[in-house]
């Protein structure tokens, strides 16, 4: 979109290993305001780890991050607080609070941080439930009573409750049927448009991409090996991208990258 603008978030040379497993080997990435960027990568390629590094849920071994051009260490409370105040996160497995009913899950931050009175918070939660296309009768259910797709949508509602500038979605559609996936992709797309939210999503679902993202970054063997706008994806000559799109394992393809 507007690469002349300054990035909201930029990552430089991020590394992360688990013992001798070098998962991320120098990630450089920039996220621009109102961009919707999808990180594409195979299962186990380190997408969730990358998100955790950005959110300060794990320390990086090496590398640096910047938030609006300012150096930023997400594992330091002073810095992470700034990010958390303006972001919403949808976790891969939704991570809803089991002990709280759906509406309280959604309104959690409104009640705890914004000190909204319970009934106001509940009203807001119910309107968010409608936004994500769930029946309002779900409000008083507990998360155990929800299906995986419903949980995802409640998780999305929770992530959106405080009108974040930045939305992080870890595999918003994995494990859902194609129709439900499509609904969620549409939701994220339209809500992001409506609130001018910047979206960083993680996926390995090619079908989701056109709705979910304006730009795509391909993560492979610990590095971003390809980055461009979504229209260029299918024309890409990059063999790994090609493989990923076609869903084929080319055994002997030493074609030039």
């Amino acid at each position: 979109m507007s690469s002349t603008e300054n990035p909201i978030l930029s990552l430089k040379n991020l590394h992360k290993s688990f013992e001798d497993h070098h998962v991320l080997q120098g990630i450089d990435l920039e996220l621009f305001p109102q961009q919707s960027l999808a990180i594409l990568g195979a299962s186990g390629s380190g997408k969730s780890v990358l998100l955790k590094l950005i959110l300060g849920l794990m320390p990086a071994d090496k590398g640096s991050l910047a938030l609006n051009g300012q150096k930023f260490e997400p594992t330091r409370q002073k810095d992470s607080r700034k990010l958390y105040a303006r972001c919403g996160v949808l976790f891969q497995h939704s991570a809803l609070f089991d002990s709280l009913p759906v509406w309280h899950n959604i309104a959690f931050s409104l009640i705890m941080n914004h000190k909204l009175p319970q009934h106001h918070a509940k009203q807001k939660a119910i309107s968010l439930l409608e936004d994500v296309g769930l029946d309002t009768s779900c409000a008083d259910l507990f998360p155990v009573a929800l299906s995986g797709g419903m949980k995802k949508r409640v998780g999305l509602a929770r992530a959106l409750a405080t009108n974040p500038d930045i939305l992080f979605c870890d595999e918003p559609t994995t494990g859902l049927d194609p129709i439900m996936s499509n609904t969620i992709d549409h939701l994220i797309h339209s809500l992001a448009k409506k609130h001018q939210t910047t979206v960083l999503s993680i996926t390995h679902n090619i079908i989701s991409l056109p709705l979910l993202a304006s730009h795509v970054a391909m993560l492979f063997q610990g590095r971003i090996i390809w980055y461009d706008s979504i229209d260029k994806l299918h024309k890409s000559k990059n063999p790994i991208v090609q493989q990923f799109i076609q869903g084929k394992q080319k055994k002997s393809s030493p074609a030039s990258p």
């Binding site: 849920l57 105040a85 976790f91 991570a95 809803l96 002990s99 941080n113």
Partner: protein
């Protein structure tokens, strides 16, 4: 045959012994720093009174039946055993005193502590550990809520307040159990028995028991939360965390009981 390098062998043996010791020391250090951290946060905002109340009900109210039952039987057994012992030198009159003293100073707090440890430190560890493996703790963090403040401190405060209440109740029920046996089986007069108990008990007996109870409550909640938060990934990790929590809470209760008893003497 002599080993080629006896010094090396000795060093190897030492290392073999040293590693677990070192690891235990590290784990202990981690636990202590966690505890100090929690203590510090207890006095720093934000405070969550409503959540403290919820946990107090959970820890206290639902433990009442089993704590009461245990105290009742303990009181009866104490009266019977006391009678057997004192009858040997014709000092049966001391039964009410020994029942009261043992219950308020020792058995009330220790039995209650151990029972609540079995029930609650495992429950706390399991709940927090499963929150950890399902990323609910990460979700809390990204929603700008500190897990220590939201999950640990309220449970610790609730346990510290509730355990003394439970122990007071168990003292009363235990003494009732002792009275019942003494009256119906050992031919005591109920009025003299209770009068005897009441006259003999000193405030320090009861207070020392309640102080112990608070300390045990603290240990129960801390051990549950610590093991829950340090749990390893996966369902196996959750199981391990609950077991470790009960063991750690029970052992530390017995240890603290010894220390506190020495202090109160």
């Amino acid at each position: 045959m002599l080993p080629r390098d006896p010094l090396g062998l000795i060093l190897q043996g030492l290392a073999l012994l040293g590693r677990p010791v070192l690891q235990s020391l590290l784990a202990l250090g981690d636990m202590v720093s966690f505890t100090l951290n929690v203590l510090l946060r207890t006095f720093l905002p934000p405070f969550y009174p409503r959540i403290i109340l919820q946990h107090a009900v959970e820890i206290g109210f639902f433990s009442l039946p089993v704590v009461g039952l245990t105290a009742f039987f303990a009181g009866m057994v104490l009266a019977l055993q006391g009678h057997t012992g004192f009858a040997r030198f014709s000092a049966e009159a001391a039964v009410p005193r020994i029942v009261a003293l043992t219950l308020t100073r020792e058995l009330g707090p220790v039995l209650t502590g151990l029972i609540v440890a079995g029930r609650m430190s495992s429950a706390i560890a399991a709940e927090i550990a499963s929150m950890k493996v399902t990323e609910q703790i990460n979700a809390l963090i990204t929603l700008s809520i500190k897990p220590l403040h939201y999950l640990v401190v309220p449970r610790v405060i609730a346990a510290v307040i509730v355990l003394p209440i439970l122990v007071s109740i168990s003292d009363i029920i235990g003494i009732m159990g002792g009275t019942l046996i003494s009256v119906y089986q050992l031919d005591f007069h109920p009025d003299t028995y209770l009068q005897n108990t009441w006259n003999f008990i000193e405030p320090l007996d009861v207070i020392s028991g309640l102080v112990k109870a608070s300390a045990f409550g603290f240990l129960i909640a801390i051990m549950g939360c610590y093991q829950g938060l340090r749990c390893e990934e996966g369902a196996q990790g959750v199981g391990r965390a609950t077991t470790l929590a009960v063991v750690a809470a029970s052992v530390s209760i017995l240890f603290a009981n010894f220390i506190l008893t020495s202090l109160f003497f």
